[in-house]
Amino acid sequence: MPSSAKDLLSSILLFVLGVVVHLNARTIVPRFKTGVDSGFFPEIVSAALVGMAAIIAVSALSKMRCKPSIVVVPDEQADELPINRFRVWGAVTVTAFYIVVLPMTGFLAATMAFLFALMCLLAQRGERRPLVFAPIAVAAAIAIHLIFVRGFGLPLPRGFF
């Protein structure tokens, strides 16, 4: 997606966020007669956010309309690699699933499975070695559990079982 299209999309999201927050802030009931009430800051900030969204949108639209005479593209952008959406969404899903099951199964079981899954997901094809990842995931989960629970005395989710 070109940067101007990204800016336009993000400005729409910011605009919506600003409007929703502003409307919500206006429902805040003042409690004091002097000074400012609790709705004052959210109203100001959300209004400013709407303003910024408008500036970003205008800037994006003007970029879309007029083409510059010479375009200098920074090196990093030229070298940008294609995005592997499967791995990104995979990592998001695995992490969300981990957080859901963590309080149910307890830290050890959930972490072992999570580490194994994430390592498989993040490793390159040539480096994907499930037989190596499995013992590392088990050992790392046990080590972290021992360090935090036994060493530092910090509580971790125990699970229902």
């Binding site: 990204k6 919500n24 400012v36 010479i70 920074p74 995979g90 992490t95 580490l115 994430l118 390159q124």
Partner: protein, 505 residues
């Protein structure tokens, strides 16, 4: 001579071991994302109950110094600040590490952490009582003005697009408004969810923005071969520095340490802000501000000098007035009281040896910190040779553990996840992170102090300008914004004249 006995008390085996152990453990806590200096002091406080007061305070001082400094390691090597006090260290430390200068970056950061600590110690020792009294004169007006001034500096963190930087700040401010409002405790944006009443904690927000988004950024790359260069040690000379380089960093070091000291002196602001403010000041003062964020060692110097200079300074109100400035010094106050030491104006008069002991412990902890971290550089740098699919997976688990352990609730883990997604989205849409973090930290301070100030003036804004310090900082804020905007307009006109349009990356 009586006071000098306090120095000798620390030079006994027990306190020396306590300082060494405290610094080592503090570095471990600081370097693990999710664990902080506060947590280290809180967990070790019960260990001090049965030991001599000097040994107990030596341990706490060691933990404090190690915990603040340890955050630089993962900030530089993984782009994940170990503690909020090392946020700005990642901005230039990680790019240096990526181009094979990890050793040099660590060397510079460690050296200026040490020097910054010495500045803080000097302030504590030489001018503690008068400085503490001066800082106490600051009221709501002054705090409001300082926070507004700090927030305007966000323009310097905006990269190529100021509107995006401001939008990012506003998102941070809005995130900080979730929960009970200051002054009247009105529930805002809680959607009848009790866990939102207390608001969002800084740690999960910070870890989500930096750590989770870093994992997702790594996941999006199909071929990491060219990015994962073999790590090089690359540290020659004195902590990776030549003499002229060291001298060129001195003005920045002096300015950043001064910022760290001022922020440390003022209760409630904390090292999480000082490193960002010093970084912004260094960037604004630089002849080459564009190089910041791309591996300019000056960014490291600014961040590490400021956060460590704040340690001694934060002890000033604690020791001279008995007022803790942040969570770590609040716990240390507990440590003082447990051992029958009452911090306050009389401490210097009635318990001189103890003051000397604490001062000596701070100095020794700084020396041990620099020694441990310097010798540990070769070990730290090996982190880079561990394949990232192992490293990032384990770091993510550490972050989850850290977020959970902070308040012992799963809600903070969900906060971590949500801000990770937000951070990744901001990355994809080219929005800078740092202004959001600064807005999140400073937002409550601005709102609380303005509301308190306006209540005392019955809603009138003008009295704020009648307070010299408040007026000075508000004036500086306006001046900075005007000069920054003018400078950008001039630059844009020059670019237009030359017919070149540089698109921000």
């Amino acid at each position: 001579m009586t006071n000098f006995s306090g120095v000798l008390d620390v030079l006994a085996l027990g306190p020396l071991l306590a300082i060494f152990g405290g610094v080592a453990l503090g570095i471990v806590f600081g370097s693990i994302p999710g664990l902080t200096a506060t947590m280290a002091v809180a967990l070790c406080l019960p260990l001090t109950f049965g030991v001599e007061p000097v040994t107990a305070l030596s341990l706490l001082v060691g933990l404090y110094i190690g915990g603040i400094s340890g955050g630089l390691i993962t900030a530089i090597l993984l782009n994940i600040p170990g503690t909020p006090s090392s946020i700005a260290t990642a901005f230039d430390g990680y790019p240096m590490s990526q181009r094979g200068e990890g050793g040099k970056a660590l060397g510079i950061a460690i050296l200026f952490s040490f020097l910054g600590t010495l500045v803080g110690c000097a302030v504590l020792f030489l001018v503690a009582p008068p400085l503490a009294r001066f800082a106490l004169k600051f009221g709501s007006f002054e705090y409001f003005a300082i926070a507004v001034f700090a927030l305007t500096l966000v323009a310097g963190l905006s990269g190529g697009n100021m509107a995006k930087g401001i939008a990012s700040t506003l998102i941070g401010l809005l995130a900080a408004m979730i929960g009970l409002a200051p002054v009247d405790a009105y529930k805002r944006f809680t959607f009848d969810m009790p866990m939102l009443d207390g608001g969002l904690s800084l740690l999960p927000v910070l870890l989500g923005m930096f750590a989770v988004s870093e994992v997702l950024k790594f996941a999006e790359q199909s071929h990491q071969g060219s990015l994962e260069q073999a790590p090089r040690f690359a540290m020659t000379g004195f902590f990776g520095l030549t003499g002229p380089e060291f001298r060129s960093y001195m003005p920045n070091f002096v300015r950043s340490s001064a910022i760290g000291v001022v922020v440390g002196l003022l209760p409630g602001i904390g090292a999480a802000s000082s490193n960002l403010l010093a970084y912004l000041a260094a960037r604004s003062a630089s002849h080459d501000p564009e190089s910041f964020g791309k591996g300019n060692p000056q960014g490291l110097v600014a961040s590490e000098s400021a956060n460590n200079a704040g340690i001694g300074a934060a002890m000033v109100p604690l020791m001279a007035l008995g007022i803790p400035g942040d969570s770590v010094t609040a716990l240390m106050l507990g440590g003082f009281l447990i051992h029958g030491i009452q911090p306050g104006p009389l401490l210097f008069a009635t318990n001189g040896p103890m003051v000397y002991s604490i001062f000596t412990a701070l100095l020794l902890a700084a020396v041990i910190m620099v020694a441990l971290e310097y010798w540990g550089i070769r070990l730290f740098i090996r982190i880079l040779s561990v394949p990232k699919h192992y490293l990032l997976s384990i770091v993510l688990v550490m972050c989850v553990v850290g977020a959970f352990a902070a308040n012992n609730r799963m809600f903070d883990v969900w906060t971590l996840f949500a801000f990770g997604l937000l951070g990744y989205a901001m990355l994809r849409f080219d929005y800078p992170f740092a202004p959001l973090i600064l807005g999140f930290i400073l937002g409550p301070m601005i709102e609380e102090n303005l509301r308190s100030a306006l209540m005392s003036t019955r809603g009138a804004f003008l009295p704020i300008l009648e307070r010299p310090v408040a007026a000075l900082f508000l004036g500086l804020a306006v001046l900075y914004l005007v000069s920054y905007t003018l400078a950008r307009i001039v630059r844009m006109r020059r670019e237009r004249k030359s017919g070149v349009d540089v698109r921000p990356g």
